[in-house]
Amino acid sequence: MIEAKQASLEYLDHGKVVYACRDVDLQVRDGEFLGILGPSGSGKSSLLYLLSGLKVPTSGEIIVDGKNLASMSDEDRSRIRLQRFGFVFQQPFLLGYLTALENVLLASPKDASRSNALELLAKLGVAEKSHRLPHELSGGERQRVCVARALLGNPTAVFADEPTAALDHRNGLQVVNLLSENRGTGSLVMVTHDPSMLERADRIVHLDDGRLAE
C-alpha cells in the first residue's frame, strides 16, 4: 500500500510560495485502479510524482510498505521505482536507438525478462513490431510499447500521467484498458483530466488547486 500523509509540495515562483499539493491524505490500496481527476494545473501530476517517489514532499510523508519515501536516499527511491513501480508518461518516451523490445527491457534489462517482454508486446498487439525502432511506429503503438515497459516485471504499482494525452480518444481508451487488464495484481494510479478515461477505475479522487476535493 502507498499512502500520502499530509503531503505537500511547494515551490517558489518569483519569490512567491506556490503549493502544487497541499496537505494531501490519500491511500493507494493494493490492486486497485485509482483515478486522479482534475483540471489543468490542479496538481494531479505533482501528486503522482509524490506518490511514485519522483518528487519528495516539502512536508508530510509518503509511505510505501511502511517506509517513508521522503527519508530515503535518492538511490533508494530510484531502486524502489525501478524494482516495484511502472511508469507511463504523457508522451510516449522511447529511446530512439533501441527497438521496441529493447525499450521494454529498459524496465528490467535482464536476459530472463526477454520472454516476458515479448509476451507483453504480444498481449498489447505489437509483437510484430518488436524489432522496429520507435520512428517506425505510430503514436498509439509507441504508447503501447511504453505500457509494456511499465508492466514488465509485475510492478506493485503502475503510475500513468495522462497517458492518453497524445492519443485520439479511441486509442486513448485502448491504452487505458490495456493498462487496466494487464496490470495483474498491481495497483494502477492514473492521472487525467478526462473522466471518460476512468470508466474502469475502482475509485476516483478529485484534485483542485493542490487539495483533494470532497
Binding site: L54, L82, Q90, L95, L98, E102, S130, R149
Partner: protein, 392 residues
C-alpha cells in the same frame, strides 16, 4: 524460409543499457568522435616521430664514433705523439689499441639537409681491426689498397649517396667531397653502421692538413665511454680536440632542447584545442540525450548508474580512438619509413615510444573534460522536468 517476427526480434535484441549498444546504434555520432581522436593521435605522433628522426639520424649516422676516442692536436702535428703517450700513461681503463689516422671530408644527405661526414683514413693493419670493432662481418669487394684513391663504404652510405662499387666517393669536380683524384668505391661493408674508409697513405699524400689524428680503443663500450669522458676532462685547455660519442649526444640534446620546448607548446596547444572541441561535441551530444537520461532516471536508474554508463561509452570512444590512432600512426610511419626514409637511409623509428607518450594527454584530457561535464550536468538534472517536457 519464413521467420516469425518474435523469433527475429529475439535474434536482433541487444542489451539496451550496454555502452556497446549506444555506440553501435549511434555510429553517426561515435565514429566522427573516434575519427577526431585518431587523427589527433596520428598528427601528434607523426610530428614527434619526424622531429625525433633528426636527433635519431644524428645518433645513427655518427654511431661509429661510439667505438673510439678521437683526439686531434689542433693543427700541431708534433703534439700527436705526446697525446698518444699521455693516453697510454694516464688512461683510467685498459687501452686495447691506439692508431694514427687521417680523414677526408664529405657529406651525407639527411631529412634536413646535408651533414658533414669523415672518410676515415687508416693504415692497412688497422683497417680490419676497425671494421671488426664496427661489427662488420662481410663486405662486397675489398679493402682500399695503400696509396690508391680507393674507399670502402657501408650499405647505408651507399643507399644515401646512391653509390655502387666503382662509383666515385670523392672527386676533383666535387667541392663538397673533394679529392685531387677520383676516389672509387672498391668495397661495400654489410652493416647498418654508417662507415667510410680510405687508406692513410693516399690521404696523407693528397689532403690537408698534414696532421695525424689519434684513435684510442678501449676493450668494451663501457670502458670506451669512461675513456672518452676522462679524455674530455683531462685534455680540457690543452692543445687537443676531443671527438667522442657522449659529446655528440650532449650536443644533440642541447641543440634540440629548444625545439622540444617549442614542440611541447605546440602539442599542449593541440591537445587543448582538440579537448575543447571534443568537450563541446560531448556537451552537444549530452544535450541531445537529456530526454533519455530523464526517462531512465524517472524509471528508476540512479544518477550514478547513468553517469557510469555514459562514462563507459566515453572511455570506449576515447580508447578505441586512441588505440586505432596509434595503430594508424604506426602504419603510416612504417609506410613513410619504407617509401620515403629507408631508400635514402634516413632514420625514422615507427615505434618511437616518445611519440606515443606524447599522445597520452589526448585521451586523458578528453576523459577529464568529459567526466567533469557529465558530473556537472547530472548534478543539476531533474528527471520530472524531462518527462513533463518542461526541459526539452
Amino acid at each position: 524460409m519464413h521467420v516469425h517476427p518474435v523469433e527475429a526480434a529475439k535474434k536482433a535484441v541487444l542489451r539496451p543499457l550496454a555502452a556497446s549498444t549506444y555506440l553501435r546504434r549511434n555510429a553517426g555520432k561515435t565514429v566522427p568522435l573516434t575519427a577526431v581522436i585518431m587523427l589527433a593521435v596520428l598528427l601528434i605522433s607523426g610530428i614527434v616521430s619526424l622531429i625525433n628522426s633528426i636527433p635519431y639520424s644524428i645518433r645513427t649516422i655518427y654511431q661509429y664514433t661510439q667505438q673510439t676516442l678521437a683526439i686531434t692536436p689542433r693543427g700541431d702535428a708534433e703534439q700527436t705523439p705526446k697525446l698518444v703517450a699521455d693516453v697510454k700513461a694516464n688512461a683510467p681503463v685498459p687501452i686495447e689499441r691506439i692508431m694514427l689516422a687521417r680523414a677526408a671530408g664529405t657529406q651525407v644527405v639527411s631529412i634536413v639537409g646535408k651533414w658533414p661526414f669523415a672518410v676515415l683514413a687508416l693504415k692497412q693493419p688497422d683497417m680490419q681491426f676497425w671494421l671488426d670493432r664496427q661489427g662488420v662481418k662481410s663486405l662486397d669487394g675489398r679493402l682500399p689498397k695503400a696509396g690508391e684513391p680507393e674507399a670502402l663504404i657501408s650499405e647505408p652510405v651507399a643507399r644515401n649517396l646512391n653509390l655502387k662499387l666503382g662509383s666515385n666517393l670523392l672527386s676533383p669536380n666535387d667541392n663538397e667531397s673533394f679529392s685531387p683524384f677520383p676516389v672509387k668505391v672498391v668495397g661495400i661493408a654489410k652493416t647498418p653502421m654508417w662507415l667510410m674508409l680510405t687508406n692513410y697513405e693516399y690521404v696523407k699524400a693528397n689532403h690537408f692538413p698534414d696532421v695525424d689524428v689519434m684513435l684510442a680503443f678501449a676493450h668494451t663500450l663501457k670502458d670506451q665511454d669512461t675513456l672518452d669522458r676522462w679524455a674530455s676532462k683531462h685534455f680540457k685547455g690543452e692543445r687537443a680536440q676531443i671527438f667522442a660519442y657522449h659529446q655528440l649526444e650532449q650536443q644533440t640534446d642541447d641543440m634540440f632542447n629548444i625545439l622540444y620546448k617549442i614542440l611541447n607548446v605546440v602539442i599542449a596547444t593541440l591537445v587543448f584545442v582538440i579537448t575543447l572541441m571534443m568537450g563541446m561535441l560531448i556537451n552537444i551530444y549530452l544535450s541531445q540525450r537529456l530526454v533519455e537520461f530523464g526517462l531512465l532516471q524517472a524509471l528508476g536508474y540512479t544518477k550514478r548508474q547513468l553517469l557510469y554508463r555514459v562514462l563507459k561509452e566515453t572511455v570506449s570512444v576515447v580508447l578505441i580512438g586512441w588505440i586505432f590512432g596509434v595503430l594508424l600512426a604506426y602504419g603510416l610511419l612504417r609506410v613513410t619509413k619504407a617509401w620515403l626514409m629507408d631508400p635514402r637511409a634516413f632514420a625514422l623509428d615507427p615505434l618511437d615510444p616518445t611519440a606515443f607518450l606524447y599522445t597520452i594527454p589526448i585521451p586523458v584530457a578528453i576523459l577529464a573534460v568529459a567526466s567533469l561535464t557529465l558530473i556537472g550536468r547530472f548534478q543539476r538534472f531533474d528527471p520530472v522536468g524531462i518527462v513533463e517536457r518542461r526541459l526539452v
